[in-house]
């Protein structure tokens, strides 16, 4: 019988790391700036899930506070980037 920590560490974490790799490739490749902004938003959103999974592995519930703050900051960064792009393109 496999236990939960090893399963999460060696099966679920590599899946999420593969996902982060593909998103980083889009982030470096993205033809326009809005593609990069969407890739950054998805990176931060997956970082929330990554921290939650890490708190599940290490059995430490304090990390969920960090992921709650990060879930709010991601939204603000996207809003600020869209405002900035709309101001740039108007000139």
């Amino acid at each position: 019988m496999i236990d939960v920590e090893n399963y999460l560490m060696y099966v679920v974490m590599p899946l999420i790391c593969l996902a982060l790799f593909f998103i980083m490739m889009r982030f470096f490749k993205g033809p326009q700036i809005v593609d990069r902004v969407v890739a950054l938003d998805l990176l931060i959103t997956i970082g929330v899930g990554f921290i939650a999974l890490f708190s599940l592995i290490t059995d430490n519930r304090v990390f969920l506070d960090v992921s709650m703050i990060l879930a709010l900051i991601a939204f603000l960064s996207t809003v600020a980037f869209s405002y900035y792009i709309s101001k740039i393109k108007k000139k």
Binding site: A19, Q32, L72, T78
Partner: protein, 129 residues
Amino acid sequence: MTDILIMFLCTLGALFILIASFGIYKMPDFYARLSVTIKAATLGIGCILIAASLHFSDFSVTTKAFAIILFLMLTSPVAGFLIGKVAYMTGTRLWKFSIMDELKDDRKKNKGTATQTSVKEPEKTSEKE
């Protein structure tokens, strides 16, 4: 039993996140990328957070996890709407096989009347797919 449920939910969430990353890498268009990312990432992270609340089985952790899910479900559509509108107004080109463009009249009217906020020509995307 709880362990099996936790492992199942975490695997489901990781698979949803992986599908979202494939989508953002392989989709041909900015708008298709935007749609696939917002939905799948929210669902995957919801599954992982429900697994965390099952693992700790504590009142404070459960309320925290549901607060995170609520924040993500409230804020990610707003962010997607804002970045999509900004991308359309700054002239991101649609995919060549897409069949509807309901904001086209709005864009033409905006270009005709307003001189200061003129919409630029669509940028040339370097991607050929």
